[in-house]
Symmetry: C2
Subunit: 309 residues, 2 copies
């Protein structure tokens, strides 16, 4: 089934304890659509780029089954640019630059052929724009997922709450879930978010895995793979979401069983993402490697029961 | 099989965002032995207490099958006292007081009947004392586990490295594993620790679960249960270790299968521990509740495979 991915397409400059790059492909929607394209087609991208964006990258995206008819190109602006630096423990990140460029005044426009998509991912962006994209759907999608971050909780809480009320799934990290709900216990945070509308809540914990809440009594936990090399976490959350949404769109079902597997495929994709800058690792990834990594999760949590007398 | 538990028995004063207590039963060996006593008997405690320690608590411990013949009572000192305060996110902890009291000049002495114990847990304590306890064993135990903390890495690294080289399992948290090895990736940290002697490494991640490394290619991950109430994490690591060691001593086997289950039983015990101050929750715990909670871990990570084409 078709999947819309809304969000940023950017260039990033990244510094980690292990290396630095002045220019790598970035943006939530770039990472997400690249990841989703391993599972489903078409991935219908909605974004904006500047005059500097490389045609060869656009060509590569089209080759991967990513539909770019919803990507606006502004000749008067450069592409969105983000620069950040990670601390030694990789858990703290300092933003060095956020040049909105092409994003200034941007309003998403969904091409006619997008408007009946079954799956929609509203990537991290101004919640007003996330709502405007959703307004353009002509049929109610099977499943709409929303990603956001603390910045919008601080600066645009009312429109954020509005769009949260319109979606089926919210993905946030553990800190954001706590900030958004005022609840420390993630079980309570997820319950509160679910009371606002989304039937599914995914709490991303980075190197600590992800929690899936479907109903109070339905919780699933997927660990992150313990990796030899954690090189750059940039984009991992978007690649995770892309794997989840791409998998769900490919099976066309959103029951607990498929949601669990979606979280595992998302985690598998994220585990590749952190191995190189941005989502560069995905550009050379083969589907067999995803299958192998998915099976490694099985080994990681598999055990035979030994119930006490 | 019998299990020796070495470490502190103390009174704690604790402040969390949810409440405070001026005096609750504490100390690594208290928490650990209480937890272990649900699985195996006898638990042979090695520690020191002061004149102020309540007889009624000693009575309760004996009733639980905890052998106190290795617990020295000093009439000239009060018991070890620790006071701490948790930050709002519960992940930062400030130590307000550490009154060594009875611990000053303490040297562990193993009673004759302890010296052939099959399982030994060397709880967090000066590594010189951990080694001295081990020196007193007359037969090589089946399995010796060691717990430590960053304080000893900073102040007593040489004797710490010495005792690490003598044990079968090291339990540390993720930060400590990184500090001890200088490796960021936990896979690499665990491999380095294993090269120093211990065949088993358990990395405790608190609310994020625990990783068990047995060989490079044998890794197991146990999540922490997502809880409604996280009231006080004090003692959870020791209760975890007590559950692990108590379970292993009860089955008398330390293969990968039983180690995995030991981690799960340890996690189940820790999930009770955080519900009240110290390990107070364990004092009213029933064995059926442990079984039920162990089965909840199964639900949390259980799924049917959906392998990609």
């Amino acid at each position: 089934m078709s999947l819309i991915v809304l969000g940023t397409v950017a260039y990033d400059a990244i510094e980690t304890p292990f290396g630095r790059t002045d220019r790598v492909l970035g943006g939530a929607a770039y990472h997400c659509s690249l990841s989703a394209s391993f599972f489903t087609q078409p991935v219908q991208l909605v974004s904006v780029i500047g005059s500097d964006y490389e045609d060869s990258v656009l060509h590569e995206m089209r080759e991967r089954g990513i539909d770019l008819s919803g990507v606006e190109r502004r000749s008067d602006q450069k592409s969105f640019f983000w620069a950040g630096r990670y601390g030694n423990d990789m858990n703290t990140r300092e933003t060095l630059a956020t040049d909105l460029n092409a994003l200034i005044g941007y309003e998403p426009k969904l091409p006619e052929e997008y408007r009946s998509a079954e799956f929609v991912f509203l990537g991290n962006l101004d919640p007003v724009l996330q709502s405007k994209a959703l307004d353009q759907m002509e049929t109610r999608p099977v499943f709409v997922a929303l990603d956001t971050m603390n910045y919008w909780m601080d600066t645009a809480l009312a429109p954020l709450m509005d769009v949260i009320g319109r979606v089926d799934m919210l993905t946030v990290n553990d800190e954001e879930a706590r900030q958004l709900t005022g609840e420390y216990a993630l079980v309570k945070a997820a319950r509160k978010i679910r009371s606002w509308g989304p039937s599914v809540v995914v709490i991303k914990k980075g190197e600590h895995g992800a929690l899936l809440f479907v109903e109070d009594e339905h919780v699933f936990f997927a660990p992150a793979l313990p990796l030899e090399e954690v090189f750059d976490p940039t984009g991992a959350g978007d690649v995770f979401a892309g794997g989840m949404m791409g998998y769900l769109a490919s099976v066309g079902k959103v029951d607990f069983h498929h949601l669990k597997n979606a979280v595992l495929y998302g985690s598998a994709m994220a585990s590749f993402c952190v191995e190189q800058f941005g989502s560069e690792r995905l550009r050379s990834l083969r589907r067999e490697e995803i299958r192998e990594r998915y099976l490694r999760f099985r080994q990681l949590t598999n055990y035979e029961l030994e119930v006490l007398d």
